[in-house]
């Protein structure tokens, strides 16, 4: 089986994306942060570096909680999406 990009992986899942983000970052903290562990830890790669800045997109989130556990800088205001929103696994 050929390797898949993260986008291809996430495209297999069904999402009901809420209009508001369920995870918010304190950008000031993230700007100063090294080594930005969230870049490696997020299994949906919601965290990306763009022109040296950390950008975050909640839409593909798999709701695992890893970023919340691993960021020790207190930059993440984390919650699950509102009821009914977010990913819905077909198999699980």
């Amino acid at each position: 089986m050929s390797p898949m990009t993260i986008e291809e992986r996430l495209a297999l899942n069904k999402y009901d994306v809420d209009t508001e983000a369920h995870i918010r970052l304190n950008e000031n903290i993230c700007q100063e942060c090294q080594p930005r562990i969230c870049l490696y830890i997020c299994p949906a790669e919601c965290f990306k570096l763009r022109d040296g800045r950390l950008s975050f997109a909640y839409e593909g989130c798999l709701e695992c909680g890893s970023c919340h556990v691993c960021c020790d800088k207190g930059a993440i205001d984390w919650s699950y999406p509102r009821g009914g929103f977010g990913v819905a696994f077909e198999y699980g």
Binding site: D16, E90, G92
Partner: protein
């Protein structure tokens, strides 16, 4: 005021495209087992239209759906939004019904449900996009129909509808009882509240069979279908990209406009 809303469950339009499968031989869509059906978005807006009327005046809203095992989930969802009662119409005999048979079954159920002033439907089901059921229900019941509503006001004995037309809207009035089909321009349907969800989960939902609503079974199901699916194919998505450039931004825009004109897109 008694309002009845007809709702239909469809394959989830948010479903990943790769999961969409058909059986071309049997001309049937194969619903993936793990992705529950949802209410057609236009029907959800019809429910919203009903609830907006109910927000403003004394009204009772009843939702009716024809469907299988999961039809109750559709009813629960609209109960959670604020609908008062829900009825499921389920019978082997209904399987394979086309727009005509479906409208007949719905109109039988509407008559059994009791008094009605206003019947709301989505402008079309977002799966087959036929857009016929609302009008045929009106025909069956012998009452007027106004299609493509973006705003519905019902007071006294009339319904006042802002009706979407290609270059704006027109205002149409009809005497009640009447059928109105609702378009997406009505705006977002409301989300269920916490209390609504719990109340809906508690409610028992009656299931009516063909016999319960006095259906003439020769008029329903695949056998009675007056329309036929000739072929069913999956669209092939071709992604062709072309980058239109120009010396300056403005020049690029002009080139783009020319390209679009060339291809008769504008």
């Amino acid at each position: 005021m008694n309002i009845i809303v007809c709702i239909k469950q469809i394959l989830d339009p948010e479903m990943p495209p790769v999961k969409f499968k058909i059986d071309a031989q049997a001309k049937k869509v194969i619903a993936p087992e793990g992705i529950p059906l949802v209410i057609s978005p236009f029907d959800e807006q019809a429910v919203e239209a009903a609830l907006r009327i109910k927000d403003a005046q004394e009204a009772k809203v009843t939702a009716i759906t024809m469907g299988g095992q999961s039809a109750k989930d559709a009813v629960k969802h609209v109960l959670a939004m604020g609908v008062d009662e829900g009825i499921v119409l389920s019978d082997e005999a209904f399987n394979g019904s086309d727009s005509f048979s479906t409208a007949y079954v719905l109109s039988q159920a509407i008559q059994k449900a009791g008094e009605y002033d206003l019947i709301l439907c989505g402008r079309q089901a977002a799966d087959w996009d036929a857009g016929q059921v609302g009008s045929i229900v009106a025909e069956e019941l012998g009452i007027p129909v106004v299609t493509l509503a973006r705003k519905v006001d019902a007071t006294g004995g009339t319904v006042r509808v802002e009706r979407v037309i290609p270059d704006g809207h027109e205002v149409v009035e009809a005497p009640l009882p009447a059928v109105v089909t609702v378009s997406s321009e009505l705006g977002q349907a409301r989300l269920p509240t916490g209390r609504g969800i719990v109340m809906a989960a508690r409610k028992s939902i009656p299931v009516w069979s063909a016999q319960d609503i006095g259906c003439d079974v020769s008029r329903v199901g695949a056998g009675a279908a007056r329309s036929e699916v000739v072929a069913l194919t999956l669209p092939i998505h071709e992604r062709k990209g072309e980058i239109v450039s120009g010396e300056t931004g403005a020049q690029a825009a002009v080139n783009l406009a020319l390209k679009l004109r060339e291809n008769r897109i504008i």
